[in-house]
Symmetry: C3
Subunit: 215 residues, 3 copies
Amino acid sequence: MDVTVDPTLYLWLNLVGVFVFGLSGGLAAVRARLDIFGVLVLAAVVGLAGGIVRDLLIGAPPATFRDSRYLAAVGAAGLVCFFFGPLVGRLQRGVLVFDAMGLAVFCVIGASKGLAYDLGPVQATLLGAITGIGGGMLRDVLLGEVPVVLRHELYATPALAGAAIVAVADAAGSTSDVWLGVGAAVCLVLRLIGLRYGINAPTPPAGRWRVPPRA
Amino acid sequence: MDVTVDPTLYLWLNLVGVFVFGLSGGLAAVRARLDIFGVLVLAAVVGLAGGIVRDLLIGAPPATFRDSRYLAAVGAAGLVCFFFGPLVGRLQRGVLVFDAMGLAVFCVIGASKGLAYDLGPVQATLLGAITGIGGGMLRDVLLGEVPVVLRHELYATPALAGAAIVAVADAAGSTSDVWLGVGAAVCLVLRLIGLRYGINAPTPPAGRWRVPPRA
Amino acid sequence: MDVTVDPTLYLWLNLVGVFVFGLSGGLAAVRARLDIFGVLVLAAVVGLAGGIVRDLLIGAPPATFRDSRYLAAVGAAGLVCFFFGPLVGRLQRGVLVFDAMGLAVFCVIGASKGLAYDLGPVQATLLGAITGIGGGMLRDVLLGEVPVVLRHELYATPALAGAAIVAVADAAGSTSDVWLGVGAAVCLVLRLIGLRYGINAPTPPAGRWRVPPRA
């Protein structure tokens, strides 16, 4: 199931995803009082790192780094955050919705690329989730924080669900690209529900606090 | 000296190593109060990242990510830690022994793979150590800590010793796979001695505290 | 514009750059009270990681890891810091000057290698900056700090300027290697000016503090 959706639509979806992810990175950098270079790097990291890690994992040359349009998208996102940080911050709920769209786009694209590189369905699902989540994880590590996706919120689950739909449809023999849309929609809806109702992924059962410290 | 040990034994050693490393990651995640996704990711990171970094460094496509059995091993380790974290924590000494076995397996496998990719003996030794240590380092970075292997304990030295034995035997012209076993045994014994007697790697001489802070 | 400067000069420049970057990493490790292994790893990370990330991004096998001479250079830097940390620390201004030389060498080499791998001028410029900056960023992440290059100082800008000169000269059709020297000189001068006068890269405009915290 190669990505044979309309190439222009595919490119624009990708660019929008990269841009809104870039906003998320740039905003975090402004909040952490980084300088102009830090804001641009964080925007680039969140927008591009998931795809770069994906490509390294399947042994493909990282594609986004070579494409000026993606670099321009994260650069624009970084500059917007640098100059209009407070404004973007006030539109935070809107940014979260856009971020959910980015997640939806990235998880199905990542899964699809994994299938094109002959990964099995489980691996392709994981690859899709990594594509969606990797940039945000690296953002948090660079800011000295434990990645928020590992601690709470419903962020990884929607990405896994969206990617799994693409992988299962492929395993079931479907060659229709409509599953890309279905996967993205499921991811988006789950993420928005999680945001709206403040749902977190489950934590270990209550006995966990009794884990003794590292010897 | 390609790895021509019995393939079934080789696979099982590897799977056990990945699983116990996964326990180490999952347990650290439960202790840091991560959610289910965080526990699974940390298990996967400790179990697989060392091998993935090794493969990236020698330009090989990351092998473990493609193999469902390794993914299943780290997934199982993560779930065990999520549901039985306190129990695993009480068995901590046992986990450390298993972790030492994982280290022993990974350092000789890493060195051996480096030699198969025409690395020199020094590089193969380093590659073996990276294979054994990389996952734990990334675990600590994701948890916002300075990697414990860089600070104290006798962890890197056993891995370097085990890997060096494989590399030196190869440089000396031996084609016997018995050196894989010797290297793993030396690594294991050194690590267990270090654990038993609380030996740390040396720190800089006492004058170090007079290093002025960064200008 | 392939690197056709005198190979011996090229090698020595590179080795000196790797060594002084290694000093920077080893010194940070001594200051953070890491053990001998931590000091050596930090020296290797700062000396080699920028080039390794560069090679991964362009799909080339990491070159420095295979070359014993580079490993020897970072090993020597680490040992010097381990045994003579306070001395190196007192020579800190001198180390910063050498570090600026390393930055100058790495940014033009990185850009030049990017051009040799058919990157566009913007990408080659970024690649040069990543080569110069990547090791220091990873050093700070391993020490649990937000990378200093993202927060203040004039460090990224000189690297971008030096790399850009190489990329623009190539785009303008010049095949003269003199631009490597010009780029390195511009980077070095800018960095030294920034150090001398304590210049920082600009931070977001004053309104930034009103960015609301993450929802």
